[in-house]
Symmetry: C2
Subunit: 348 residues, 2 copies
DNA sequence: CTGAAAGCGCTTACAG
DNA sequence: CTGAAAGCGCTTACAG
């Protein structure tokens, strides 16, 4: 195995052109300060850099700037397994850092405890910032507040931007609920059942539910309150349980808007077990457009969550935050992916 | 937001104890060279470091050692979506780096092209090593050979350690096939159908198939060659197609060993559509123990792939490789997770 | 036995 | 208009 060639450094370029390497640094960094170099020198430097395939050493700059070169990513139980939410989010974050040519090290924490245990001892001196993603428990808010108060740059990826000082990026969940419901109403459903999933006591706090209501308003239809099932979580079992309850109460319904693909598939399982055909008798829509949609007994129509895009923005935002800027919060627009579970004619 | 406190540096400790910071560096690094400091000084330094909560700056050491602080991770289409293979592998890699207190930056590449496009220009001067994971296409081997020849440390995560000079870590796929088959034979199956998935012309090259054969040998049963289906991929459709073909040929079978959870679930879908009950008439086992197992119409028995553990070892190995060592290749032992698809009495 | 000094590759306030 | 110099936090060959 041959020895690896050394990468080009600022000094190599400076030497080749017989200028100081400070000048080269300024030109390459686009940060001239007082310096007003002659255009021909600037161009010569840029040309030489390209010729010698110069790549700035990622560690050196960060060290000089006082960076640690690390961003922690704390991912709470996020969506159900199999939805690849965490994976897509990380992919987006990683791509975002790459775009900035930033070399930020992702450290994954799977639990608050794991994170907090190390926070005072290590993490807070060990990283430049944190991205906190996941289900918005009250405990999560406390954690974010504490991090923010400690002076560590934080970006959150949570439903509902509840801490105004902390920049947040999320899929637009209200629009998810709207798109799913609008799709069923537009295709003729009259009585749509809905699974509301929220940790709060009041279902009204669910943004997807608000989207569900908004779509009904637009179509001039009033939803039946009895068809709103308070789901304890996003799992398959919630979907099964919802269908059991609606049927036990003798309710009629021709559509189901779930709040996760798991819930939707659980509902489909239960419907099929009862001999109720999907989509012929009941049309079903999930949320996440996860790989599970195709594993479902009937391919599942779903609304995307755009986690890769969310991750990209989270990376941009934490970078800006670390640079001392104040990035604004964002909502990412979802779209509908129609499959057989919601279409009366089989898809081609 | 209060200004962040500065982290303790070597100099802070040296100043507090009135020793040189070179000495502190040597003590903290456990790298004394010629230096033979008095034990009391060493202990005083260690105590002070703990007291002042010293955390070595991750960038400084790497810069000094000539590291780039980055490891590329090239993940080929790996398993089907929804299995979270990539996610688990990354989680393991990340945890492995953390354990070494290494700050290595993961850069994900989703395709060879994406990777190669940047390789000569950037990547090879830009990172300390690469982990290549995925399906072992001939093209992948070429890529790994090229990387290795270029002098860049490489660790592969591929089925079959085909390049002896390159350290490889993988789940023990032969043992996966063995465990799945042994489980069905031990519980009374006599005629087990199998999906062989291999890019090679000869099914014998499939290690899972060899495990399948080994289990039969152990139980003194000869498998029926007609029940071996050559699957083109690991998707649901392969499982459906296999069942259709076996039934069309009028073959009898009481068990199916698939080579992925998707294949197994596809087979279950097709069996149920034909009114063949699972597990009563046919018992089914998948591979990966992915979240899909619980989304299956009948909860799926599966063999684990231990991707997190594989990732941890991949991190250890690339680190050793970068440090100039020659780590040995590894196979990680799987285990069986029994669910309803393979048990005649329903699980409690 | 211990420390001063050079240097990893970069940035930037400052002097000329 | 340009460059010499100090310094980010560390490591290590070398001098005392």
């Amino acid at each position: 195995m041959p020895p690896r060639e050394r990468a080009t450094s600022l000094k190599d370029i400076a030497q080749a052109l017989d200028v100081s390497y400070s000048l080269v640094s300024k030109v390459m960094g686009g940060n001239m300060g007082n310096t007003r170099a002659r255009p021909e020198v600037v161009q010569a430097i840029q040309a030489k850099a390209r010729e010698m395939n110069y790549q700035p050493h990622p560690l050196a700059g960060a060290l000089k700037r006082g960076r640690k070169g690390a961003v922690g990513v704390l991912i709470h139980a996020m969506g159900e397994e199999g939805t690849e939410i965490a994976s897509n989010l990380l992919r987006g974050i990683s791509a975002g850092f790459d775009e900035h040519r930033l070399r930020l090290w992702l450290r994954f924490f799977e639990s608050d405890d794991e994170f907090l245990e190390h926070f005072d001892k290590r993490a807070r001196y060990d990283m430049d910032g944190v991205i906190v993603a996941g289900i918005a428990h009250p405990a999560t808010f406390e954690l974010i507040k504490k991090l923010h108060a400690s002076g560590l740059p934080v970006v959150s990826v949570l439903e509902g931007s509840v801490i105004p000082e902390v920049a947040n990026v999320m899929p637009d969940v209200q629009h998810q609920g709207y798109l799913a419901t609008d799709h069923l109403l537009a295709s003729g459903c009259k009585r749509i059942a809905h699974l509301v999933t929220t940790s709060a006591a009041d279902p009204e706090t669910s943004r997807r539910y608000r989207g569900f209501l908004a779509a009904h308003t637009r179509h001039g239809i009033s939803p039946d309150p009895d068809l709103i099932f308070r789901a304890p979580n996003y799992k398959l079992s919630s979907g099964e349980e919802a269908v059991r309850q609606w049927l036990a109460q003798g309710l009629q319904f021709d559509g189901i808007v779930a709040q996760s693909d798991h819930q939707a598939i659980g509902a489909i399982h239960e419907l099929l077990r009862r001999g109720i055909r999907v989509p012929d008798a009941v049309r079903v829509v999930g949320v996440d457009d996860s790989p599970l949609c195709l594993a479902s007994p009937v391919p599942l129509t779903s609304v995307t969550a755009e986690w890769v895009t969310v991750g990209r923005h989270a990376a941009d935002m934490i970078t800006a935050e670390i640079d001392g800027e104040r990035p604004a919060s964002l909502m990412i627009a979802p779209h509908l992916v129609v499959r057989r579970s919601s279409t009366l004619q089989p898809q081609p």
